[in-house]
């Protein structure tokens, strides 16, 4: 079996890679979003603290 045959998936390449590709894409987006959310939450907490100290 060579790689070209492997990626061709016997004619089902679009369906097979379309499924796994979308899953990978969505998981990556989710991972980026939860990490971004944590960063933003911590930033807001620091801003709140700084605002509280200056009063």
């Amino acid at each position: 079996m060579n790689w070209a045959d492997f990626f061709a998936m016997n004619g089902y390449a679009f369906y097979v890679w379309g499924s796994y590709g979308m899953a990978l894409f969505v998981f990556m987006i989710e991972i980026i979003l939860v990490r971004h959310k944590r960063k933003v939450t911590l930033q807001q907490l620091r801003m709140m603290r700084d605002a509280g100290e200056s009063q």
Partner: protein, 245 residues
């Protein structure tokens, strides 16, 4: 002041514990995904009927099962929060919803891409497919409802009611292939089943385990942000290393 410490004891300790646990779920999940893909594409043989298209199963079946399980766990946490007013339970329910919605979406997407070559249609209004679509809408409804209510405790209560009522849909999805004549095939995983090749079972098992660990890791990261947001006015949050620095 001591009363406050008792009041927030659960989220306080859980925040630190969750942070320590995340890598122990995230890294094994990544390794199991790689192993599952390897078994699914290089070890499992070509299917006699569906040729290579059946390999969609290794992502479709785990995410579909998990989308149902996560809903029940989410509804369970929401119910605990509603009955016992345990705030961490409600936060866990909120943290699980987006991942459940994502799994339901991938289940529908990979199902459409599997349905087209096998049935000749991307979508049919069949019991299995329709009830899974309703599951996705229930997740989105839960998220939207909670986001639309400013007071977190009221948002928890409203969301919990929706989650509990919606959980009736999960057995409908599960048994839909038995109750109605449907285009969708029966359950892939049966306890007495011997028809599936052993490598196919191994690949499915690996992908299933990977999805479980992924769910736990991503939920723990998300719940930590929710805890910080909801406890932002407490002393313990302001004393955290990551907030002080």
């Amino acid at each position: 002041m001591t009363i406050h410490w008792f009041k927030y004891a659960a989220p306080t300790t859980f925040y630190g514990l969750a942070g320590k646990l995340i890598p122990f779920f995230a890294w094994p999940s990544a390794i199991l995904f790689v192993a599952g893909i390897y078994f699914g594409f290089f070890v499992a043989p070509t299917d006699a009927v569906q040729s290579e298209a059946y390999r969609i199963m290794f992502i479709h079946v785990p995410v579909s099962i998990l989308s149902m399980f996560i809903y029940l766990i989410m509804a369970g946490y929401a119910a605990l929060g509603l009955i016992f007013k345990t705030r961490l339970s409600s936060m866990m329910a909120s943290a699980l919803a987006p991942t459940g919605a994502i799994f339901a979406f991938i289940a529908l997407w990979s199902g459409a891409l599997w349905g087209k070559p096998m049935w000749g249609a991307w979508w049919v209004w069949d019991a299995r497919l329709t009830s899974e679509l309703i599951l996705l809408f229930l997740y989105l409804g839960f998220i939207a409802l909670q986001a639309s209510i400013d007071d977190p405790r009221r948002a928890d209560r409203a969301g919990a009611l929706l989650a509990i009522v919606g959980s009736v849909n999960v057995p409908i999805i599960y048994f839909s292939v038995k109750w109605w004549n449907t285009l969708h095939q029966g359950s892939t995983i049966k306890f007495s089943d011997t028809s599936m090749h052993v490598a196919m079972k191994q690949a499915l098992f690996l992908m299933m385990a990977a999805c479980w660990l992924y769910t736990i890791a991503i939920t723990l990261v998300r719940v930590r942000s929710i805890i910080l947001e909801r406890e932002r006015n407490t002393q313990w949050v302001s004393e955290l290393e990551e907030v002080r620095s």
